[in-house]
Amino acid sequence: MSFVEYKEFIEDGDTAIVFLGHDSMFPITIQNGSQTQTKYGVIRHSTDLIGKKYGSKVICSKGGWVYILYPTPELWTLNLPHRTQILYSTDISLITMMLELKPGSVVCESGTGSGSLSHAIIRTVAPTGHLYTVEFHQQRAEKAIEEFRQHKVDHLVTVKNQDVCKHGFGVTGIADAVFLDIPSPWEAIGHAKSAMKSEGGRICSFSPCIEQVQRTCLALEEHGFTEINTLEILLRVYDVRTINLQVADLGRAAEEKSSLDGTDRTKQISAVQHGSALFKSGVPPRETVGHTGYLTFATKSLF
């Protein structure tokens, strides 16, 4: 299994996602001879999983079933073990497009964190690009290296355990894009610039606080970056629900009511039955993510 190449069958050593239904998922590592406990019973890797197709329904020991899914970077983002705050797919999507990432791109990233964005970048730049990711926390860097190896993408990524603000990315003049998610990005802009190709490229800095953004923007300007642009993207999820709204009794005669049914003004009216109206609605959750961070993008111009 590799995160950058789909495959049909589940094999020993794969990372896979167990889908229990309705937003309930968790990742597993397939190991011949091992078992996984779910609320629907045990899954035996050797008999229930290995050799089956991804996307198969697997019956657990108690009779309930789960689906085994191929781990796309997006599913991984939803299931990975958190060692830090992570970036989610909404921000990742915009970062990927605005940094103009595509197969062959060379990207520098700091910090690696839990590797949520790293997996998405690697997926997009494979098979000919490369990610240089710098993490100042030793254990996190080591854990990331281990994960990349397990996910068979280690040939596409180099992890360095150093402080990007002091020592940079360890590469010069090769990056098409740089991404910064560090507490003081303004201190790393110079290093970012020198890591980038001479013909230019794109940079992005992610910061939760506007004060950080202000300092970063000033630093970007000082270093000659252009097209400096700060934006924020928020995901609005809608629950699809069938709603039954009661229709008030206004003392209208039964006859009149039926004639109203006859005219097909809208579906909702025609669905009026027994004093209620049925309709589908996209209902926003009562509480939702209101802020992740500001994304500041800029261009390093030619020469």
């Binding site: 950058v4 996307g55 329904k57 497009m97 595509k102 953004v213 993207i233 999820v237 996209g282």
Partner: protein, 482 residues
């Protein structure tokens, strides 16, 4: 575009598809010598761009010629500045230069920068403005008088932003960040086999092709007479990228699913009059939908590019000598032969696309069209392998509510999510940071999910035995899933 052709592609060559940038305005054009291009109400020639690096900035000179601009940091020193605007009165008399004076300066060939300097010197109120207001004034005037153009390589970012700003009607109001969501949620990456159904001028198709980087395959499902790829061409992909691009008509999907499809049954191409009818139909369709008046011309140009592409395909497949010979003898017979060859080529590509679909193992499905998403999705999902993402865009929420419900009823999908994104731009200045005063009201809705093995397959007897006993539990799972 990608690593394999970096060296030659750093310089602009004749025939390249490029993007012109002036301030925040983009325009996608093809570089041709002695060809007038109108951009931001000014005529320009791109002759001087050829041979220069991508990213170079030019100034528009007399006669619309471009001249490379030395990027000098022009810091207009602001010696004096007022503290607030209490003494500034809008009486229309503060600027001593008249419109005629400015026009005269322009005619003398004086550059934009100098004109801005003159405007400042002749402004009676400039010195009383606050430092911030002075900055704003200069910025505004520079925008008006400095004709500076940068030549860029096209990318999904640039083209998606350009279309959204200039011609949102042609791309079903698909905002660029929504397109970004689709590409990520669809896990579009090199080596995949992706089905694309779009009526966004070929922008979504181009974005998918960029992410495939020439590796893998794309099957474009098209309504009407032929696939629309005006925006796709603007990406300026190398020819090799088109090798993995296939197209298949939507009106043959049903026959493909029921097993009655035969490439030979598509006689419409055999009859040239029929073909004309068909293209006429597409134009009508486009006109019906087009929210701007020039949609008809777009569809014409689309037809042209189609013809071009097909021709390229033909030329690639036969010897160069043959195409020379063809040029010498412009006989009707030759033309007929040529047409037949094109038809054969088209039919071959279609049968290849049919075969790719019939494998039913596509790695993803991307839909962004002006059609109702439900029937499209219910049919096209049949061609997608299990455990693969699919993404549907719709300008409106209601059709996706229905689509969501129908997909749930049918099964074979999990993780269904209906969402939209909000995008907000910021002004960032020391102590003066705030959201921009205007934001986009909506960028459309996205429904995405993951395919799983279809329910149809009956479990074998042993699993039935196993699962029969704790039937209550099973019910519970079902409930939670729905």
């Amino acid at each position: 575009m990608d690593e394999c052709d970096t060296a030659p592609s750093k310089l602009v060559s004749e025939g390249d598809f490029v993007v012109l940038k002036r301030q925040d305005v983009f325009k996608a054009v093809q570089v041709q010598r002695r060809k007038k291009i109108i951009f931001e109400k000014q005529w320009i020639y791109l002759d001087n761009v050829i041979g220069k690096h991508y990213g170079t900035t030019f100034e528009i000179c007399n006669g619309g010629n471009l001249q490379t601009k030395r990027t000098e940091v022009t810091t207009t020193e602001m010696k004096e500045a007022g503290s607030d605007n209490r003494n500034i009165v809008d009486d229309g008399k503060s600027q001593k230069l008249t419109r005629d004076d400015i026009e005269a300066l322009k005619e003398k060939g004086i550059k934009g920068e100098a004109i801005v300097q003159q405007l400042i010197e002749n402004s009676a109120t400039f010195r009383d403005k606050t430092e911030f207001a002075q900055e704003k004034y200069i910025k505004k005037k520079k925008k008006k008088y400095e004709a500076v153009i940068t030549i860029l390589k096209p990318s999904t970012r640039i083209l998606a932003m350009m279309y959204y700003a200039r011609e949102p009607g042609k791309i079903c109001q698909l905002r660029y960040d929504t397109l970004a969501q689709m590409l990520t949620l669809g896990n579009i990456h090199a080596g995949s086999k992706v089905i694309v159904m779009e009526t966004c001028a070929g922008l979504v198709l181009g974005a998918v092709m960029e992410r495939l980087g020439g590796l893998g395959s794309v099957i474009q499902m098209y309504p009407g007479g032929g696939p629309v790829r005006a925006a796709t061409d603007s990406f300026g992909f190398p020819k090799s990228f088109y090798k993995g691009l296939y197209e298949f008509p939507l009106n043959k999907v049903e026959s493909l699913l029921t097993g009655t499809y035969s490439c030979r049954t598509s006689f419409s191409e055999l009859n040239p009059t029929l073909e004309n009818d068909e293209s006429g139909e597409t134009q009508d369709l486009n006109r019906d939908n087009g929210e701007d008046s020039n949609s008809a011309t777009e569809s014409e140009s689309v037809m042209d590019t189609n013809a071009q592409q097909q021709q390229e395909g033909v030329e690639g497949s036969c010897e160069g000598a043959l195409s020379k010979e063809k040029a010498q003898k412009m006989e009707k017979k030759q033309l007929a032969l040529e047409r037949k060859r094109k038809q054969d080529e088209k039919r071959r590509k279609e049968s290849e696309a049919a075969a790719l679909l019939q494998d039913k193992n596509a790695d993803g499905l991307i839909v962004a069209s002006r059609f109702h998403p439900t029937p499209l999705l219910l049919s096209l999902l049949e061609f997608v392998a299990p455990s693969r993402p699919f993404v549907v865009y719709c300008q409106y929420q209601e059709p996706l509510l229905e689509c969501y419900t129908k997909l749930r009823e049918k099964g074979g999908v999990v993780n269904l999510k209906l969402s939209e994104t909000w995008l907000r731009n910021y002004q960032v200045l020391p102590n003066r940071s705030h959201p921009k005063l205007v934001m986009s009201g909506g960028g459309g809705y996205v429904l995405h999910g993951t395919t799983v093995a279809a329910e149809r397959a009956k479990p074998n007897t042993s699993t039935i035995e196993k699962s029969e006993e704790p039937a209550t539990k099973k019910m519970k799972v079902e409930e939670e899933e729905s």
